[in-house]
């Protein structure tokens, strides 16, 4: 088991980097990871450092297991029919989310209302596809391609999936966040993505599902307001953390099971 210590070292490196920048900016050290009140210049440096540390982690893991990084990651993206699973995942996540948003709009649980000026919204939306693709790729490489794949070498699949899903969820709360009740939603999402990886045997499907979700959520976020109860519809970019969203995650997991393991 090498991925878990490596991920812990990654968190430690992120923390050290942040505190070096805080010190450089003349600010006090902080225990929690998060840019907080860092000045803009240091904030950019912190983002750059974070990306470098994450890229370093992704490069280091294959070397630790005596493989070249290129060989290791190419195996996670096999050719043949598999790349089509990326599109399938993207479409499935988009379908579920749009169906829910349609239902919530019709029942006045979500209301369309631009939060910013049209130009600001257009600028923000223009960057969404690239952000969705990169965020999905990075998180899938890290949490499925490295963490879950490594856990499966020492644990049987069920505990490996559960542990990886919980670590994936916990990682989203390293930085201070507005809401913590979304944690079960993150665990559910983690389970879906881990099982998609295990059942499909590659990263194409989890990347597609993840990118589809981020694409819809980030694309729709500047245009809507949640007006229904959070326990039903969630909030902000977390509609999957409400009751309907959690059931949606479970049903999509069942869809994927049928596609890869079902009989008939």
């Amino acid at each position: 088991m090498r991925a878990l210590p490596l991920l812990l070292a990654t968190v430690a490196a992120l923390w050290c980097g942040q505190n070096l920048l805080l010190r450089h900016a003349g600010l006090p050290m902080r225990w929690r990871i998060g840019p907080g009140d860092l000045p803009a210049r240091h904030r950019h440096a912190n983002r750059f450092l974070t990306n470098c540390i994450l890229a370093g982690t992704l490069l280091l893991y294959p070397i630790l297991v005596n493989t070249s990084p290129l060989d290791y990651y190419l195996k996670l993206f096999p050719g043949g029919r598999q790349p089509g699973e990326l599109i399938w995942g993207l479409a499935a996540a988009t379908l579920y989310l749009l169906a829910l948003f349609l239902a919530w709009t019709l029942s006045d649980n979500v209301r369309f209302r631009a939060r910013r000026r049209p130009l600001q919204i257009a600028r923000r939306l223009a960057g969404v596809p690239l952000t969705a693709g990169l965020a999905a790729l990075l998180e899938e490489l890290l949490f499925r391609g490295v963490l879950l794949a490594d856990l499966q070498t020492t644990l049987s699949t069920p505990p490996a999936v559960i542990l990886a899903a919980f670590i994936f969820a916990a990682a989203h709360y390293l930085r201070p966040v507005k809401r913590y009740w979304t944690f079960p939603g993150h665990v559910g999402l983690g389970m879906l993505l881990c099982l998609a990886f295990v059942w499909s045997g590659s990263l194409w499907l989890p990347v597609g599902l993840h990118a589809g979700g981020v694409l819809v959520l980030m694309g729709i976020r500047p245009l809507i307001r949640y007006t229904g109860p959070a326990w039903l519809v969630g909030a902000s970019i977390f509609p999957y953390a409400g009751g309907a969203g959690l059931i949606g995650l479970a049903l999509l997991t069942l869809n994927i099971w049928r596609r890869y393991c079902g009989v008939g």
Binding site: A103, R113, R225, G228, L232, L252, N255, Y260
Partner: protein
Amino acid sequence: MSELPKPQHVAVIGDPRGPDAARVEAYLRERAAPEACWYAPGELADLDAAVRAGQIRRVLLLRLEDLLEALWEREIELDRWLALGVELHCVESPPPPPAACLAAVAQSWQRWRRRQRRRQLIGGLVLSVLALVAAFALIWLSSGAGAG
């Protein structure tokens, strides 16, 4: 023309870079409160929280419509504001109605909201189930086993 209190107790609903900002600033300068906090329309949840925390005692609007829109959009709880004794000022006429009149509007709005919330919840539950069943069935029927 009343004098506005200390800057940290005055909030302005408006865009500080918008076309009406100069008029609002002139209004504030006339009343010796040039450093009020600005809250953009559509982002008034923060103002609502500040009012409820007792940080804001007077709210300045360009026009009454800005306040009513925030009320209809459920961004503020006007009855709580009035109970806390928050004063409302408008740069443009008409001036805000008396507090008792606003309180009656806010209470009626709350009663209507409670009834509406029940309908919203039932509609949300029913349509969520239908949406999930539709998405699930569509994917289930379109994907056979062993596709990978």
